[in-house]
């Protein structure tokens, strides 16, 4: 199988799964597509040097987190997102109302905080691995997780109906 065919097959097979991860990391369809295309383009150029193609997906996933983290650093100090990047409730995601409400709050978190939650609680990565991926200390991961949960709990409490 030639280089181009091999990479094209990989991309066709894994695009959906990788896009979903990119979307959770960025909270935005536009940014997710931008991030994934960028990382896949660089993977395409380096495809021949990836010795074990079975690990290519892990390589791309790592690239997604690294590239996203670089983007946050470039943008400087993070701030709360007042306006959600995608118009429409939940960014056009079709889930139950309670999930939708929580997802909207998760999307409002600063990107590094949101990524910490995704890596810790969806991908079940240990704190040390999350720290390495995001380029921060383990203490920072703990702190980001703590503050993310605190913000979400506060936001979700406010949304509960009064008795």
């Amino acid at each position: 199988m030639g280089h181009d065919a091999s990479f094209s097959d990989f991309m066709a097979a894994r695009w959906s799964s990788l896009y979903r991860t990119a979307y959770l990391l960025t909270g935005s369809h536009h940014q997710a597509e931008d991030l994934l295309q960028d990382v896949l383009a660089r993977t395409s150029v380096r495809w021949r040097s990836i010795r074990d193609k079975n690990l290519a997906e892990a390589y791309v996933r790592r690239g997604l987190v690294n590239q996203a983290a670089r983007g946050w650093r470039r943008r400087g100090r993070e701030s709360l997102v007042e306006e959600l990047p995608d118009a429409g409730h939940g960014g056009g995601v079709d889930v139950h109302a309670e999930h939708l409400a929580l997802w909207d709050e998760i999307r409002r978190l600063p990107p590094r905080m949101r990524a910490t939650l995704v890596l810790r609680y969806l991908e079940d990565r240990p704190e040390s691995e999350v720290a390495e991926l995001l380029g921060v200390s383990v203490g920072s991961v703990k702190s980001q997780t703590h503050h993310a949960l605190k913000r979400l709990r506060a936001a979700m409490t406010e949304m509960e109906p009064m008795p």
Partner: protein
């Protein structure tokens, strides 16, 4: 709101998010851009090496916003892998050391990923793992490594048979050693390096490949060769040094033995193309030098402590000091 709620929500969103088709036109444009950037990185020339170094140092100071809060630098420099207490740790611009989860010898970094060799297992870039590896070298093209059957695997995945140990590798070729004879395997074929006028008696020390240049230390001297085996330069002293990844600059600094023998302290940048040198003030004894993502790093020793410096053509600045001396670049 509990952690299981978050798990359920993230899982539900992941499973239901609408996925757009691949925009093939945009993707092909990005691939072309990635190829251009990769070629541009390889083509950094003699003149631009110093400019790149200067630029790196220029962005290093912290930015402070109107509220006096520290803001991340616009182009955060990649973290530097160092070995501390048998562990590979990553040094940030703030001087903070964070764990990398890796152990063993630092081979280098490829695409920002640290590559290590530990007990025959080559780890990285990314999550790749290869066992049965006896030697490995990183360059911008990727990793060249030798397996325990002596075969050599190149960054593009091709393998080459070999009978001798691999002692260096770079973008333009690799070097094997048989007794005291070094052979460069490059695009123009295999070439034996003649180590000085009395080559047969010279014992090679360290060997490095940077761009199309092979730097060899032997019996207290440094020899610079091109990959066709031709000798480009040679000088006495400066054996604690490193060739830049593009082969444009050989940087060296006096080690304790050389200083005891009368060599002046300080860092010297030798321009391979012109043969000119430029000195940079550095008072301590050099232990090791390395180039990392266009940055020149110098490890020095004073008493029991070690300090890592980042240097350019003008000056060196301290990055971190280990009072107990437990700090190395490899």
């Amino acid at each position: 709101m509990t952690i299981p709620d978050i798990r359920e929500t993230l899982t539900a969103v992941r499973d239901s998010v609408p996925v757009p088709p691949v925009d093939q036109v945009a993707f092909r444009a990005r691939v072309r851009g990635a190829r251009r950037r990769r070629v541009a990185v390889r083509a950094i020339g003699v003149g631009t090496a110093a400019a790149v170094l200067a630029a790196v140092v220029t962005v290093a100071p912290r930015l402070v916003d109107a509220d006096g809060q520290q803001v991340a630098a616009q182009s955060a420099a990649p973290r530097i892998p160092v070995a501390v207490g048998g562990q590979v740790r990553l040094l940030g611009d703030d001087g903070e050391l964070t764990g990398s989860g890796s152990t063993g010898t630092i081979v280098g970094t490829v695409d920002g990923d640290v590559v290590t060799l530990d007990a025959g297992v080559l780890s990285g870039p990314g999550d790749s793992r290869t066992s049965g590896v006896v030697a490995a070298y990183a360059s911008s093209a990727g990793v060249t490594y030798q397996s325990d059957d002596l075969s050599i695997t190149l960054p593009d995945g091709r393998t080459a048979p070999a009978d001798d140990p691999l002692v260096a590798a770079g973008d333009a070729g690799w070097v094997t050693q048989h007794d005291r004879v070094l052979t460069v395997h490059g695009p123009a074929g295999d070439h034996v390096l003649r180590l000085g006028s009395d080559g047969s008696r010279s014992q090679p020390g360290t060997v490095e490949v940077g761009g199309a240049i092979v730097a060899v230390t032997a019996d207290g001297t440094v020899g610079l060769y091109d990959v066709s085996g031709a000798r480009r330069a040679g000088f006495l002293g400066g054996v604690t040094g490193a060739i830049s990844p593009d082969g444009a600059t050989y940087a060296y600094a006096a080690n304790a033995e050389e200083r005891a023998a009368g060599m002046r302290p300080g860092l010297v940048l030798h321009d391979v193309a012109t043969g000119t040198t430029r000195g940079v003030s550095l008072g301590q004894d050099a232990v090791d030098l390395a180039w990392h993502d266009g940055r020149l790093l110098v490890l020095t020793e004073e008493g029991t402590s070690r300090t890592l410096w980042e240097c350019d053509v003008l000056a060196c600045r301290s990055l971190v000091t280990a009072a107990d001396g437990d700090l190395s670049l490899r």
